[in-house]
Amino acid sequence: MQKYIELFRLTVDQYFIYRINFLLWRFRMVLNLLIVYFLWTAVYDNTRIAFGYDKPEMITYVLLISIFSDLVFSSIVFEIGAEILNGDIINRLLRPMSFFKYLLTKEVADKSINVTSSLIETTLLLLLLKPALVAPESAFVVVVAAVHLLLGMVMAFLISFCLSMIAFWSAEVWAPRFIYFVLVTMLAGNYFPLNILPAPIYSVIQLSPFPYFVFLPAQLLVQGFSNYNPVSIVIQLFWVGILYVAASKLWQKGMREYSFYGR
């Protein structure tokens, strides 16, 4: 256990060594939040209710999404892709430390620090702009939202892991990752709640993994169970299962076929 605590500490320390990188990343997140926040504020300038959300609901949604995104999508898993490409992965595996526990520890450290900054930023924004917000319907809603969020984190972790496995067979790891992030930005609900979309489109998206990362938990906290379909949890578990199998299969196959020529 001791070594994982140490690793956690080291990962956090690294952020302070490369603080410029970290600050810039946070800067980008804040700008993102500003764009979405003001976009929706402007929308409510001439209407009280848009797409079934009133202003406090929408603003609460936007702020929650910003925090949840940091929790779900900040990840160090993509580092494995680079390590497979340059051969460093070998050194990792030779250490007397479970590779997956290693990965998980770093992941938790990374998420903690990003969420902490995200919370600080959001608080500052709240203090400056003082928007009206809404509170969740009941404690039970919070629990269900938390379950979805947790499963969302697992899904995001597994997808990033699978995408990194591409490195075993091809140097082209950047482009798929870029496409994944594009899809996440648009389809995970970062700019707008997905249920404002026309019903047919929304139903199709509901079959994909995207609404279960951050949209569903945020929407639950804002709108309660009124628009909630319990099947969601089944679909999400189904995705977690599929992704888990894919991730472990790819990892095993990749390690067997790994030919490192050196670069």
Binding site: I20, N21, L24, F27, R28, L31, N32, L34, I35, F38, L39, T41, A42, V43, D45, N46, T47, A50, F51, S170, E172, W174, A175, P176, F178, I179, V182, L183, T185, M186, L187, Y191, F192, I196, L197, P198
Partner: protein, 260 residues
């Protein structure tokens, strides 16, 4: 001049050849950009067809704002792509081989890496914007002319910014991501800067002049700018451009290169 055009053309063809060496990556990246644009476009369209107005602008107007942001953004990327690779050139010392050549170093380090992927995407934006501009009522040719002029004006500011990034790269190797800051900031102008409350709106217009770069071209198209504003815009962009050149000259004098 002819010499510079020839060099520019050679750099462009070489950068094209280089990009084409990795066809899978090229296709995937282009695809990614198009998906991002497509879904965002759909979102703007869908949003405005329901709410009708955004900061006082109609659906078609908002779309023209959105497309103009994309045009200025992708033209700047198309032209100044090489700036993203500048830090490596400084750190490796290869910049020295550029400085001893009888051409303006900007030929290589500013506009020496034309990105064909962005050229392709820019054309799509331009076709779309032409269509939507003609959907707007009461647009005169003067408005269109001013629109184009303001886009050029925006690109001049973008050029100034990229030159300043180069100068910073020469002065210190510590600041690595200045160009990414620029990219992130410009995204604030995806929608007209009118959506921001004061004093943010003022800051995003005149202090960090993304409003002038990306929102004002459309405002001039809609005849919303006064002669005073035009004067301010042109003065600002020319001043920004000249100051960035001055900063570059200053940086060259302070350049320390590497090694003994």
């Amino acid at each position: 001049m002819i010499k510079n055009l020839k060099i520019f053309w050679l750099f462009a063809t070489y950068s094209m050849k280089t990009t084409l060496q990795n066809k899978v990556g090229l296709v995937l990246f282009t695809l990614g950009k198009l998906i991002r644009f497509g879904t965002f476009f759909f979102f703007v369209f869908y949003l405005l067809s329901n709410t009708e107005l955004l900061a006082g602008y109609t659906l078609n107007q908002t779309i023209v704002f959105f497309l103009t942001y994309n045009i200025v953004d992708s033209l700047a990327q198309l032209l100044f792509r090489e700036v993203y690779r500048f830090r490596f050139l400084v750190v490796s010392g290869d910049l020295n081989t550029v400085l001893v050549k009888p051409y303006h170093p900007f030929m290589r380090i500013l506009v020496g890496g034309i990105d064909i992927m962005d050229a392709f995407i820019s054309v799509i934006y331009m076709i779309l914007v032409t269509y939507f501009i003609f959907q707007l009522p009461g647009i005169s040719w003067i408005n269109i002319l001013m629109y184009l002029l303001m886009i050029v004006n925006g690109l001049l500011i973008a050029a100034g910014f990229h030159i300043a990034v180069l100068a910073l790269g020469v002065l210190t190797t510590e600041v690595d991501h200045t160009v990414m800051i620029y990219r992130d900031m410009t995204r604030l102008a995806t929608f007209p800067v009118d959506i921001y409350k004061q004093p943010l709106q003022f800051i995003f217009t005149f202090i960090i002049p993304i409003g002038i770069m990306m929102t004002f071209p459309v405002k001039s198209l809609l005849n919303l700018l006064s002669p005073t504003i035009y004067a301010i815009c042109f003065t600002l962009s020319i001043t920004a451009f000249i100051s960035s050149i001055k900063l570059w000259d200053y940086a060259l004098k302070r350049y320390q290169s590497w090694g003994g």
